[in-house]
């Protein structure tokens, strides 16, 4: 290869290399631009931090359980396991719960009584909506007309009658009890319910919610439905 040819080849190859690198650069950059402003990023950061602290809390709790297991002598192991079991039962709603909370009374509105309207049963959609509003705050437990509402519960409209866990909910008035982890949480939820639009939604159905002030002790009944374990099997000792 003569010197002149060599130079031209070099130049052309340089251009080709440059184009290749440009293409590589362009293909490797994300196609969607990050258009979040400072505020949006701060919001997301706050969300992540909240998850972080929740996870830390859970880890701490599990660590404590683990520490209590390791510290125990053989005689007390059964007791510790029983404690864990009780805790899980409580979490699942299989045991009566007492805690800070408040009572909500669902009753026909005075106007509907004055006009002589017939009191209709509560609609399942409205009740589901109400539960969604309550569940915007974490850790709350519910009892609807003396039927414990857990993660296993269901709300159905059966022949025009509202049922929770398959049991009829009486036509208003009836009571809904809400228990929160702390009295502060309870107050927060109370204020949230007072300010939310859910009261208007109930009023459209000629019902009013009378929310009593949070108190320290409200007792919820236990879940009576039992439960079916479809996927887990009990392990025998030999295995």
């Amino acid at each position: 290869m003569s010197g002149k040819v060599n130079w031209k080849f070099t130049l052309i190859l340089c251009i080709v290399g440059f184009m290749l690198a440009l293409q590589y650069n362009s293909m490797n950059t994300p196609s969607t631009r990050d258009t979040r402003d400072m505020w949006a990023i701060r919001n997301e950061l706050a969300k992540e931090k909240k998850i972080h602290s929740e996870l830390l809390g859970e880890i701490r709790e599990v660590d404590q359980t683990l520490a209590s297991y390791t510290e125990l002598t053989n005689e007390k192991t059964a007791e510790a396991l029983q404690n864990t079991l009780d805790k899980l039962y409580k979490q699942a709603g299989f045991m009566p719960t007492t805690g800070p909370g408040f009572v909500i009374e669902v009753a026909p509105s005075p106007e509907s009584i004055a006009f002589g309207y017939e009191v209709e049963p509560l609609s399942s959609e409205l009740l589901t909506r109400f539960i969604n509003v309550v569940n915007q705050y974490k850790g709350n437990e519910l009892e609807i007309d003396e039927k414990r509402f857990t993660t296993l519960s269901w709300i159905r409209d059966i022949n025009g009658k509202l049922t929770v866990n398959g049991e009829n909910v009486s036509t208003p008035p009836f009571k809904i009890k809400v228990v929160s982890p702390t009295i502060e949480d309870s107050k927060k939820l109370y204020n949230h319910l007072l300010s939310s639009a859910i009261q208007d939604e109930f009023y459209l159905d000629n019902l009013i919610l009378t929310i009593s002030k949070p108190v320290d002790h409200i007792t919820l009944q236990s879940w009576t439905g039992g439960f079916e374990n479809q996927f887990l099997k009990e392990q025998t000792k030999e295995e």
């Binding site: 290869m1 080849f9 070099t10 290749l20 293409q23 362009s26």
Partner: protein, 121 residues
């Protein structure tokens, strides 16, 4: 022999370091231009190996092919017809042919060199 490779390296590093990004809309043009550039490059190498290399043909071919390919892609976009596929096809076929010819020439050279060395011994 090493100078062109050095040029390629220089070009790649320049491109990577400059951190220039081509907008998504023009990505098609750049990729087709790269294909055209490769086609001309391998054509040049083949011509050189066949001893029919011409400077002017090579350099003009390089730029002309790139422009033609980009123009085809441009017209294709405005006509709503994927004309750039024509360029991809043409250049792709030629690229394969050129590389095949280069391979044969190199193979022939290698075998003849081997025969020479064995006869010398």
């Amino acid at each position: 022999m090493w100078l062109p490779l050095l040029g390629l390296l220089l070009g790649v590093s320049l491109g990577l370091l400059s951190d220039i990004q081509i907008p998504q809309v023009y990505n098609n043009y750049l990729s087709i231009a790269i294909l055209a550039a490769f086609d001309t490059l391998f054509g040049g190498i083949r011509a050189h190996l066949q001893q029919v290399y011409d400077d002017r043909v090579f350099v003009s071919g390089f730029f002309f092919n790139i422009l033609l390919a980009a123009a085809l892609a441009f017209i294709g976009v405005h006509l709503g017809l994927d004309l750039y596929l024509a360029a991809v096809f043409a250049f792709g076929v030629r690229l394969f042919q050129n590389i095949a010819v280069i391979r044969r020439i190199l193979l022939a050279k290698w075998t003849s060199r081997k025969q020479n060395s064995s006869t010398n011994v």
